[in-house]
């Protein structure tokens, strides 16, 4: 498990706080904050991030859709060394998990809170959180989306 602070559940940084989202367009802007995808009104194909053209049928009018905040782990790996730029670290490198989360209509690539293979298993229930990715030069914490394994009952 990462030692970095995790925002659970994912919520928008409050105005005036010392944190911001890495890219506003990745997230819904109203209601419960979840990932913002795109859905094709013609063939129902769903993408993340949202995009204008449909990758399946070529329609050009995909509509924003709030994606579910819970899904299952489809595949994963652990990044054990610091990537080169354009990666922006937050100081001392700590290994991090990367995986694909099956959200039903779309499979989303994401950071994972867990960073040890023994803590992850395919098909595990996962939920959306925010993790610090790096800091702006002025010290603002930049948050990105991640998925965290749900506690087993």
């Amino acid at each position: 498990m990462t030692t970095q602070p995790v925002v659970v559940p994912a919520e928008r940084p409050s105005p005036g706080s010392d944190a911001r989202l890495i890219d506003e367009s990745l997230f819904t802007s109203e209601g419960e904050m979840t990932l913002r995808g795109g859905r094709c009104p013609t063939c129902a194909t769903t993408t993340f991030p949202a995009q204008r053209g449909c990758p399946r049928c070529g329609a050009q009018d995909m509509e924003p859709v709030a994606l579910p905040s819970r899904g299952t782990l489809w595949s994963f790996t652990i990044q054990n060394f610091e990537p080169k730029a354009p990666y922006r670290g937050s100081g001392d490198f700590e290994p991090y998990g990367v995986g694909y989360i099956d959200l039903g209509d779309v499979i989303v690539e994401s950071r994972l809170v867990e960073n040890r293979p023994q803590d992850l298993v395919i098909d595990a229930a996962m939920s959306l959180v925010l993790v610090p990715a790096f800091a702006d030069p002025d010290g603002t914490t930049v948050l990105t989306f991640a998925f965290q394994r749900e506690a087993t009952k």
């Binding site: 790996t77 990537p83 354009p86 922006r88 950071r111 790096f134």
Partner: protein
């Protein structure tokens, strides 16, 4: 119409300090011409490419300014296959009889570090650590 490979050349694969990828491409091209018993001036067209080691068409400076049509191909790991496909199409079209396909490269050690903008993805993707060789070659396949 059948299209045939009539000569091949290869610079020995390796780190090869002091020899640029582009220079290795010229070595391979000369070997292929020799293997086929042909001259550079016999080549009617060329397709070639490199990701990190220069523009393939600049090899005309080393091999000869014969005025041949040299088209650069830039298709990542598929550059060689794409150049070969384009050459086959050029010959089967009836426009040409004889040409050359040249691919070469030389990368810095370690993982690739592409800019996600080249794939139409936002900068957040690389900055947050998702632009990874591991996921390209393992999880996505």
């Amino acid at each position: 119409m059948n299209v045939a490979v009539v000569g091949i050349g290869l610079h020995r694969f390796g780190r090869t300090p002091g020899v640029s990828g582009r220079e290795q491409g010229a070595v391979a091209a000369r070997q292929a011409l020799s293997d086929a018993g042909l001259q550079w001036s016999d080549m009617q067209f060329a397709f070639g490419g490199s990701y990190d080691a220069g523009d393939a068409d600049s090899l005309v400076s080393d091999l000869g300014l014969t005025g041949l049509q040299f088209i650069n191909v830039k298709n990542g790991c598929a550059t060689g296959g794409s150049a070969l496909t384009a050459s086959c199409n050029a010959i089967t079209s009836g426009r040409y009889d004889l040409g050359i396909v040249i691919g070469f490269d030389k990368h810095q050690p370690g993982a690739f570090n592409m800019d996600p903008a080249t794939l139409g993805i936002g900068s957040w993707y690389g900055e947050s650590g998702l632009m990874l060789t591991t996921q390209f070659f393992a999880m996505k396949i």
